[in-house]
Symmetry: C2
Subunit: 897 residues, 2 copies
């Protein structure tokens, strides 16, 4: 194995662990870093910690530190557990708070030499400390005179990956599985090891590797040794492997005729299976269960409760230290939409609140952040406050299932922060014990990021209210007055409010084989943010964005300012052109979850209704007149949402049905806000391209180009969203846009209005996803088709946009001719998530700088390919700026200047 | 075919025709460029001209110009020959001087519209005018109110490519042939077409596609149709295809029993063959002949002269307009080195001067610039002045056969300029006619580059004398006083002095399939410079370097300043560490022509002797005491060289044998200058790396990294050269370096002095190419070997250089361990031009920032591969700067700071 090369292309594979060379001036700041790295003791994790230190220093500082073991013979970086350090340097007193995965960076005397010490309660803590030190160096922070203690906020900091054994990933948008292929674990697990290293660097300590919609075969006898190979790849990085299971497995492949959790044969089957697993994987992390939901088997088959099922598996795991993650995402997807009291949002609370206290201590209820399903905006799930005697974890989604699928930029940390900081105002929480301890002994310095929090903070993005800040020391709140007893979500899930033995954070990651892990180079900010917030949810979204940007793209101030600001505005932007006012999903909800499909959620059993009709919009979830969902919240929160006047605008339509003319606090009607928000959002998406273009030559070309391509696509697709939603609401409400934009496209020429040669006009479904509801398609058997029109406007320079459909069933080709001159051609070979002609596939091609003259024949030729029909929606012409509009015409008036 | 993509990696394939987008501000300068490009008439060349205009404008300005033919209906860019223009716009008066491949860029009224007109005497001139306009735009020069006439200096501006039919290229350093593979013309000739476009863009109008050491099969009946396909690829760009032939072809494959040029059967064979060629290739350019040289057949076999042979072929070509290029590189390579009067330098003059006047008018004698063979420094070939009634062309070498083979940076324009500007002071040249005409009518503007020449000029590089400037108008000298009658080489080869019908410039290019054409991304500056100087040899090397840098890397002032300055210093740098004082080749002359091999030229029949012995060095070529070579020059020049005192230092040893203690004008002895020059040169090569590193983030990463890797290699190989030459002269002269450097390497540990495990000590040949003449090699059958030593210096940070041998017979691997810690490893898989352990393959690996402690075991492990023996020369340790030298030692003295 060669040491990592000096030069490599910036594919994004290195993510935030690039260890790019510092400039000479920057490197000089670390010139006194000890030359030796001594590891106290011997373990896989300590070896990783030592090698990572060497790798980081070599990359950033261009020098190779000396490896040493146990003996400190010169000034050194010393890596070791507290226990080992107590032996090597008994005089050093470690902070008593250091425990779990926490670490301590300090300077002290070992064996007579001044050393930089990285200590952990465990070897994993030591590894985390190494990554923290290297991150400091990469970001230009001081590495001398350290005395910093960091403690994770909660013991559980996990990711789930929804990989199927065949290699596909459910809701994965970056290629195939890094774990599985063709029903087996991959031979080459290099990427799995690389992934574990990335996870470790942000403090993530567990990973469930297969889809929660689990294939029973994952527990087959011949599969376990394969799983053990993944665990082997994870182990050097302290990431515990876990799996998702199907509860019916004992029956489906286990030879039993039942999977009733109370049946002793079933219990024994799980006992035996878990024992087999631990023989192969001694550090196996646990089991994730999705049951009785979306067609999955579950205990309800036998009239048993989730507690019965969870505890059965928990008891098998208990002797080995394993955990059960039982997902609260249990709901009926055959809900009767005619009954106005029915409400999917109530399901988790209704199902699990009654079971509070019945779950074993090694069971964690894994709860999505909102009551629906990873929407761009939801209120916080009330169940977080509804379990006082049960462990919880919050489930966040790193993979952008409903937030643009990594084709749109959507940095989720601001949303997660709003959720985690949300105070559920639990009634009568128990008195905290140990609050004073958390202030920390004065001898140790408060870590940088928290210290910053104490002094300054800017809002994460323009749209977010500036909430009160909870500063922290070592990850624990310190500014909280003992009387205030806030009960934010982060404290509930971390088990701090009800003194639970465990709990924490789970993120659904779904990385893939794409070199850059998540498809969009900027999407990795979400994985980074998840880990950082799971470690310390008191970090601000801006702090996380800044850290990630510096580590990923370097420290050019323009780059930092631009990317961080793009990240921080992106969630609000995506919300504003896809679903403002808490309206919930307007996407194709039974299919791709990607493009617009406003009505797809209505009148079906899946329960994600927005109830828009000709008079109004929104779902009444009040106790007074609606589904009664608000009653699930603690009294103080319920009061806010029950009342139309106190419900915040951004959740208005989630809680209330209002007429389109309802006047918002902002001083405009709901319908006008729907229009304005979509136009502003689409405009903002164009602006992202401009912001990014300012970074040309400030970052590497490879990532520059990759991001630019995605942003340009996003800018076009934001217009598809804008027009689909606005036109749908114009049609149903009958209320025109006060600014005259919706339904009026003066520069647009519909394909169906052109002269068609071979093309035939089709109705697009849903109609709002194509302009005027129609498109033209070319029969798959045709060689090619053409749509022609004659330009009759003023002579001049024009920018031309062609709206076409890029179906994933083939790669159509297009070309544009002006008076028989080919002026553009392209291949529609992207892999958008649909084979249909609709809002998933509607794509914009921008052609800049065409000189058009009255009478010009403009001809769009489409060449279908396999199942792709070279379909067209419309063409738009805009006068181009920045050109002298030299014109043709009467020679007499122009000829003699 | 898709139009060129918007985004592409910077592989170098686009060379200087990148048409990279201008920034918005820059593009605004061209906002009034007409939107339409009208071509008058119809031809392949005009079509190329029109499409190139559109391509360039689209790339740089982001707009698509309108194609039109014949009719001007609005303000337009109008492309056409003078003839066509006279019809379309009779009122426009073109400059009478416009002829041949010249062009005229002007503004004028056509059909009542103000137009930008690009006119040529021929369609090829129109194409050249288009490239000139696009180059102006790419370099930010004005494109309005133009009235510029450019006329090429000479009709012949050709390249030769020495491609073998099997696909290998003789003296090619950038991959395999773009024309041939496996004895056939390639199916895919895309690159051949791209090459022709590059050539056309710099005014090159002919290309001979096969090796001058020609395979007779090139004239086989079934090969001609294949050649026609290459000509087809060239034709749209006005590049005439030519071939090299073997004179014995009629006998070898033609069925005759002779190839005597005076035999009528042979004459008829050529007649018929040439007719066959023109049937397939109506614009065939001609035939290149290398004969009676280096083992090639020739007319001497039958006692005939070169004139007999050349005229025979010329008469076959004459009716079709073809040319014969008869190479003057004819010499005896079995010269008796014991005879001090023998001198290869005299061969060309001796062979061809007597034949002056005997060659037909369509024969050109193709003459290398110097009397030897493309050395880094030679005097000008006297034959240029020795042919008064014969056409000539100068042969320059773009491929860097003796100047670093594109692994070393060596920009040759400064050398070519010295050659071309060299005044041979021909006796009694005929009075020029038409000198006044060349001043040009006052109505037309002098072209930009020439205008600049008039006002300012800095020396091309520090080492070159600042010669009198010949400014020009339209490529013709204008400051020359009619009385002065300078006869510089450029005027001789262009036929201006003796009023020859044709003549000019031939460059040996040898581009290959490597994406960037010549291997080293910066080597393309040589191809560019050749074309530009062939078009206008009055351009300064700096002007050419600036143009190329701007076109190739953009207009960042730091980039322009840095690259241009690196280019301009590089020839002198290469000369100074490989062969100063005109000593001639010190390379492995019978083999690779690459690494050092000081004695390889001595005592053999090839005649490139430097005659170094224990007392002195240099070859006496005077009339008084030497070979009499100086007598070949016109009197005034001969006088300068004959006299030791007037011979310039940089050619001293070419003309004179002097003792090592001879005192140079610079005030130091010859031997000390040899030492100093090599040390300064090697130092300068290190400096190139530093200069380049300042461009990080100012140019694209891809080319940045590619160039950096070559420069780092060069810096190491310059040390190999330095040490080889200095040590050889130290040994032979016995005179120590006054600065104590040569032979003293205090930080060096010889591999043969280490503890060897499996490695065995070998003598390297020639001995000066390894330190102390020895190396260690690992038997090919061994798994691996090791060389070990114990570090005993002061503890601290060190940079370590390992000198190893990268044989091209396999890819050895190496790794370095310090006290069993792997601190570096690499693969020796470069394709250097030798399978031997010598100066061709000696390579430096720099390992920066190692912390070493007294007693450390340093272990170099080598893993042989096939015929590569993981051979080692030495290791060098240098204290590293920029680190705090934290040390180990007595804890009492360091422990408590």
């Amino acid at each position: 194995m060669l040491l990592h090369g000096m030069l490599h292309a910036e594919t994004g594979a290195e993510a935030w662990l690039r260890y790019a060379p510092l400039g000479e001036t920057e490197a000089a700041k670390y010139s006194s870093l000890p030359a030796s790295v001594v590891v106290l003791g011997d373990s896989l994790l300590l070896h990783s910690a030592q090698q990572e230190t060497i790798r980081g220093a070599r990359g950033m500082l261009g020098r190779t530190l000396r490896e040493a073991t146990d003996q400190v013979r010169e000034e050194s970086i010393v890596l070791g557990s507290i226990a080992a350090l107590n032996t090597a340097a008994p005089v050093l007193k470690h902070p008593p708070e250091l425990r779990g995965d926490g670490f301590w960076l300090t300077t002290g005397n070992v064996n007579g030499f001044t050393c930089l010490i990285i200590a952990g309660a465990t070897d994993r803590g030591v590894l985390y400390g190494v990554f923290a030190l290297l991150s400091r160096i990469a970001r230009g922070e001081s590495a001398v005179q350290l005395d910093d203690l960091e403690q994770p906020y909660a013991p559980v900091r996990w990711v789930d990956d929804w990989d199927n054994l065949n290699g596909r990933i459910e809701r994965g948008y970056a290629g195939r599985s890094i774990f599985f292929d063709g029903g087996k674990v991959r031979d080459d697990l290099t990427r799995a090891g690389d992934y574990a290293r990335l996870l470790a660097s942000i403090g993530i300590n567990g990973c469930a590797v297969n889809n929660v919609n689990a294939d029973p075969k994952v527990l087959a006898d011949d599969f376990l040794p394969q799983l053990a190979r993944i665990a082997d790849a994870f182990r050097p990085w302290g990431v515990q492997m876990a799996i998702s299971v199907d509860l019916s497995t004992p029956k489906v492949i286990g030879g039993l005729d039942t999977f009733d959790p109370l049946d002793p044969r079933v219990r024994d089957w799980w006992l035996k299976k878990v024992e087999d697993i631990y023989k192969l994987i001694p550090d196996f992390g646990g089991i994730v269960v999705k049951a009785d939901s979306e067609g999955r088997s579950g205990p309800s088959t036998y009239g048993r409760t989730p507690a019965d099922a969870a505890n059965m598996i928990a008891r098998a795991l208990k002797p080995h230290g394993g955990l059960v993650f039982y997902r609260a995402f249990v709901y009926n997807h055959h809900l009767d939409w005619l009954n106005p009291k029915n409400d999917r949002a109530k399901a988790a609370y209704d199902n699990f609140h009654p079971l509070d206290g019945q779950f074993d201590d090694n069971v964690i209820i894994q709860i999505k952040y909102g009551p629906i399903d990873f929407q761009v905006r939801e209120p916080v799930q009330p169940l977080f406050a509804g379990l006082r005697n049960t462990n919880e974890a919050i489930e966040l989604q790193i993979t952008q299932e409903y937030t643009g699928q990594q084709r749109h930029l959507c940095f989720l940390a601001p949303m997660w922060k709003e959720v985690l900081d949300f105070d559920l105002q639990v009634e009568n929480p128990p008195r905290r014990h140990g609050d004073t301890e958390k202030i920390g002994p004065s001898g140790h310095r408060i870590i940088g990021s928290s210290a910053q929090l104490l002094t300054s903070r800017s809002p994460d993005h323009p749209g977010s209210p500036d909430r009160p800040v909870l500063a922290s020391w070592g990850g624990h709140p310190i500014t909280r007055s003992p009387d205030a007893l806030l009960t934010p979500v982060k404290d509930l899930v971390a088990g701090k409010v009800f003194h639970r033995p465990t709990g924490g954070f789970v993120g659904v990651a779904n990385v893939g084989l794409d070199a850059n892990w998540l498809g969009h180079p900027l999407a990795m900010a979400n994985l980074y943010a998840f880990g950082r917030l799971a470690w310390n949810p008191n970090l601000s979204a801006r702090a996380v964005a800044d850290e990630w940007t510096q580590l990923t793209f370097g420290r050019d101030p323009l780059v930092l300012r631009t990317i961080s600001s793009m990240l921080l505005s992106s969630w609000h932007l995506y919300e504003s052109y896809t679903g403002p006012l808490g309206i919930g999903t307007l996407t194709d909800i039974t299919g791709s979850h990607y493009g617009p499909g406003v009505e797809s959620s209505e009148r079906n059993g899946w329960g994600q209704w927005h109830r828009a009709d000709h008079q109004g919009v929104g779902m009444d979830r009040t106790q007074a007149t609606g589904t009664g969902y608000t009653a699930q919240y603690p009294e103080a929160v319920a009061r806010v949402y029950e009342n139309l006047a106190t419900t915040p605008d951004d959740l208005l339509l989630f809680f209330h049905h209002v007429p389109y003319t309802y006047m918002l606090r902002a001083g405009k009607t709901v319908i006008q806000q729907i229009y304005d928000s979509h136009y502003e959002g689409a405009q903002g998406a164009q602006q992202l391209v401009v912001q990014w273009e300012s970074l040309k030559n400030h970052i590497d070309d490879e990532r520059y180009e990759a991001v630019l391509a995605r942003l340009e696509y996003q800018a076009g697709h934001a217009i598809v969203w804008r027009d689909a939603v606005c036109n749908w609401f114009l049609r149903i409400s009958g209320i025109p846009d006060a600014k005259g934009r919706v339904g009026h496209y003066p520069n647009r020429i519909e394909a169906e209005a052109m002269q068609l040669q071979g093309y035939s006009v089709i109705d697009v479904a849903p109609p709002e996803t194509a302009s005027e509801g129609k498109a033209v398609e070319c029969s798959a058997t045709a060689q090619n088709c053409a749509a022609v029109f004659h330009f009759q406007e003023k002579a001049g320079w024009y920018d031309v946009d062609v709206q076409y459909f890029d179906q994933n069933s083939g790669a159509s080709k297009f070309r544009i001719l002006v008076d028989n001159q080919v002026v553009d051609e392209w291949s529609a070979g992207d892999a958008l998530p649909s084979a249909k002609i609709n809002g998933d596939t509607s794509t914009r091609r921008e052609i800049r700088g065409l000189a058009l003259r009255p009478g010009d024949e403009i001809r769009i030729e489409g060449f279908p390919d396999r199942g792709a029909h070279a379909a067209l929606d419309y063409m738009e012409l805009h006068p181009a700026s920045g050109y002298v509009q030299a014109t043709a015409g009467n020679p007499g008036s122009h000829g003699h200047r």
